[in-house]
Symmetry: none
Subunit: 193 residues, 2 copies
Amino acid sequence: MLRRTKKERQRLLSETIADNPFVTDEQLATQFQVSVQTIRLDRMELAIPELRERIKDVASKTYENEVKSLPIDEVIGEIIDIELDNRALSIFDVKEEHVFQRNGIARGHHLFAQANSLAVAVIDDELALTVHSNISFVKPVRAGDRVITKAIVIGRDEKSHRTKVELTSTVNGETVFVGEFDMYRTKGKGEQQ
Amino acid sequence: MLRRTKKERQRLLSETIADNPFVTDEQLATQFQVSVQTIRLDRMELAIPELRERIKDVASKTYENEVKSLPIDEVIGEIIDIELDNRALSIFDVKEEHVFQRNGIARGHHLFAQANSLAVAVIDDELALTVHSNISFVKPVRAGDRVITKAIVIGRDEKSHRTKVELTSTVNGETVFVGEFDMYRTKGKGEQQ
DNA sequence: CTGATATTAGTACCAAGTGCTAATAACAAC
DNA sequence: GTTGTTATTAGCACTTGGTACTAATATCAG
């Protein structure tokens, strides 16, 4: 084996494609210094579909997962469960880029972003905006932590167009963040500000 | 014109494709009882890209947004003036990627991020963490707006290692966001290097 | 009837593949 | 060295869902 082993190349190939599904066989062949045919054999063995199928997969996946009040792509973290106007759950994996270099603790605005976008997503309305919120960062979160955030709609006032949402984020069962969000919604008379 | 007018067909065609970008010319031809060539002419006139391009657009759009949560920079916005443990000022230009596609209003977490990172920056300490905050989104902010955020340190308790910071964000002199941040810091007065 | 517009047909070509066969290359075992 | 096995490369026909272009025909309006 010249460049490395076949196994090693296939491992890297899987990674590369997972990282960027938009890459063609030709680009991969150049990258790994092998022929296009080898790349194709590799894909066969690894059961990796062709470029067009991969792209279609990405596209259809996001198409299925559309949430009514907010496109899925505008949510920080991944929504794993949602019951509109009732409750929602999202996961956010804290990575190196989310923490302070100096102390390794996650910057507050990332936790806020996850909570805030979940609060917006749970509202079953075309327009949902955060008006006010009262939040507490209970415990530091670090890179590698998986933050699970739960949103519970706890009150709704039709007249003021407000909905109250309670947010709780935990890491390994321990609460790291809590917040109460006051959301504005349009439903009823759709007048925008 | 046989089936209806060309205009009517093209209107329906746009709708159909918008509704389901995964449809092929052939399917469309069958649906509208015209030839594939007519569908292609229609797409030309309406500047609707071919199936593969449409799918790629859907896929890449969601792919971008997955990564595009919050910037990696330690500070959101540009600090233009700072007097440690006293006050600080930052500017943040709201762009298209910061607003909801649906209504053009800036997502709350970006405003929070600017305020939060300014609150962290104004503290003259190695470690500064947000413990609690009470915030209000006073007025919607839109793409193109220049948000100026001012942080004022309004209180400090040596024993609890807490510092209170008041944040105000304005656009063209109008207040759009206010917040009170409770910051934790490691060192009390006099312990500093 | 004439012209303009709309529609259809047909051809060559493209990207990014699949599926298949066959030729080499590399390396290990004996 | 020779043989066996696995790995790699090459080549060709074929596929989808198109583009780009030309040319013929249909439809309708004045």
